[in-house]
């Protein structure tokens, strides 16, 4: 799906995901967790459609269940006993809620990464880290180039070996045999690749970077907004607004006007990509 946020500058993408993933990892407060989860889920559906729902139901709900069972089995603190297990251990409301929150956190972070994988493609990644790690970025790019070649060669090796009657050695043996042919073949090719790099001047000092991405004023404005959101949330953390205690009983900080401002701010931060996309959709539809 085409996304306005995905079309913006990679640095903005990174800033946003770093913020939401970091916050997603530290907040135990159910409201914050809920906001982040809803935003990640909604944006994920926007980006990946039906496949997102499949991921959530087939992969994430079982994980959540595992975490809740684990928590209920090992934690026996809390004041509200729900029932007592045959071995005499209590299962408490507090421990179940705590496990749910833990599981929700894992889920939320996972969902944010699903969005991240859809938005940050390899060339965006290389753009952001290419300057700091030129050699690493080039290595990644080269390896991405070689990978499909290796897969194709592997296929050809299997066929060729079968064609001279060498395809009957058992799967593991055949695989290892093919691997060893592939290594020899590809190492020889590496010399040609290195020559091609040398002949185009690789290794000269003062390498520059070609980029297809441009930093626009909109990117700057959005980055400032994200940073402002970050600052607000960090202020909330400092004021203890995001603390949540589950042992021995559930205790959340008292709600003040600041808490509500914080909720709204955090929601705006998390929903930013989706809001951006929807605004763009609206403009597009109106202009037709």
């Amino acid at each position: 799906m085409r996304s306005a946020f995905a079309g913006s500058h990679p640095a903005l993408n990174f800033l946003f995901f770093a913020s939401v993933v970091a916050f997603g990892m530290v907040f135990f407060h159910p409201v914050f967790l809920g906001i982040s989860f809803a935003a990640a889920f909604a944006y994920g559906v926007r980006l990946r459609g039906r496949r997102m729902l499949k991921t959530v139901f087939c992969l994430l709900l079982p994980t959540l269940l595992f975490v809740v069972l684990l928590g209920a089995a090992f934690n026996h603190y809390g004041v509200t006993t729900l029932f007592v297990l045959p071995n005499g251990n209590r299962v408490t409301l507090e421990s179940i809620v705590h496990s749910l929150v833990t599981g929700g956190m894992v889920l939320t972070v996972f969902l944010w990464f699903v969005c991240y994988n859809a938005v940050v493609t390899t060339d965006k990644f290389l753009h952001v880290f290419g300057r700091a790690f030129p050699t690493g970025a080039l290595l990644v790019s080269m390896t991405l180039r070689f990978l499909p070649i290796m897969r194709r060669r592997m296929q050809r090796i299997f066929e060729a070996q079968r064609g001279i009657g060498r395809g009957e050695g058992g799967r593991l043996r055949n695989g290892l045999h093919a691997l060893s042919i592939l290594v020899t073949w590809s190492l020889e090719g590496a010399v040609d690749t290195a020559d091609s790099m040398k002949s185009r001047g690789y290794g000269i000092r003062g390498r520059t970077n070609y980029t297809r991405f441009f930093w626009t004023r909109r990117d700057a404005a959005l980055s400032v907004l994200v940073l402002l959101g970050d600052a607000l949330v960090i202020a909330g953390i400092v004021c203890g607004q995001t603390r949540a205690i589950y042992d021995p009983y559930i205790c959340l900080p008292a709600r003040t006007a600041f808490s509500y401002a914080l909720y709204i701010g955090y929601a705006l931060l998390c929903f930013m990509p989706l809001l951006l996309d929807l605004t763009e959709d609206y403009k597009w539809n109106r202009s037709r």
Partner: protein, 235 residues
């Protein structure tokens, strides 16, 4: 690519210790984030390897080729889905071309396979774990000159894969899922990962045992033919 391997081992171990200590010291379950951040910081000394390497262009291409092969090697066993020889190939490369080369191949191939199969909070743990496991295995094997002693290679490789990579990769799950860092709950999480780690380590061992010699010979021939990865030489 030959520098001081022992110094690197020490710094790797220290950073691993820092991760664990940092995680345990910081209560209130912030260790999920904190451990990730510390891990990224721990990778910084190694980032230098990928920053601006003064190496031969050919050596660079070979690292990339071996990493691509390591990732693609999954396709060689398309009929045996549990066989993932990535770790074994990185170890063999390091065995003949130097432990830092092995480390780079391990890190690069893990990074790429994370890119292909989706990144997550586990990415830094897996990358770090793979690099570290390959590096330690190679340091041990090279220090003992165990090249072409394939049984030793297989055992050491499998152990490093199991203990180091398994622990690093699972620690992500521990930090994320364990209700607290008590021995009981941590071991419960680790136990669920045990069958997977054991099979991964076994595969690494078997692949090392069977391919250490044929692939090693090819890497060696390459080094001799084009005078690559020689000590104390740079362009």
């Amino acid at each position: 690519m030959q520098r001081k391997p022992y110094l690197t081992v020490v710094s790797l171990t220290l950073s691993l210790a820092a991760v664990l200590v940092g995680a345990f010291l910081l209560r209130d379950r912030q260790y999920y984030l904190v451990s990730g951040v510390i891990l990224l910081l721990a990778c910084l000394p190694f980032a230098a390897l990928f920053r601006k390497r003064r190496g031969k262009v050919r050596e660079l291409v070979i690292v990339s080729v071996m990493a691509a092969i390591a990732v693609a090697s999954r396709a060689a066993f398309y009929m045996l889905p549990t066989v993932k020889p990535l770790c074994a190939i990185a170890i063999i490369t390091g065995l003949y071309l130097g432990e830092e080369t092995g480390f780079m191949v391990g890190v690069l191939s893990m990074f790429l396979s994370n890119f292909l199969f989706g990144q997550g909070a586990w990415t830094p743990y897996q990358i770090f774990g793979m690099g570290f496991a390959v590096f330690v295995a190679d340091v041990i094997l090279r220090a003992g000159r165990f090249q072409s002693r394939r049984l030793v290679c297989a055992v050491v490789g499998a152990l490093c894969c199991f203990a180091i990579y398994g622990l690093c990769a699972d620690s992500c799950a521990v930090f994320a899922m364990a209700p607290d860092l008590s021995w009981k709950s941590v071991s419960a999480v680790l136990l669920t990962g045990l069958p997977f780690n054991a099979s991964h380590a076994a595969v690494t061992g078997v692949v090392l045992f069977l391919t250490e010699k044929p692939i090693g010979e090819k890497l060696e021939r390459m080094c001799v033919k084009y005078q690559l990865f020689q000590k104390g030489e740079s362009e």
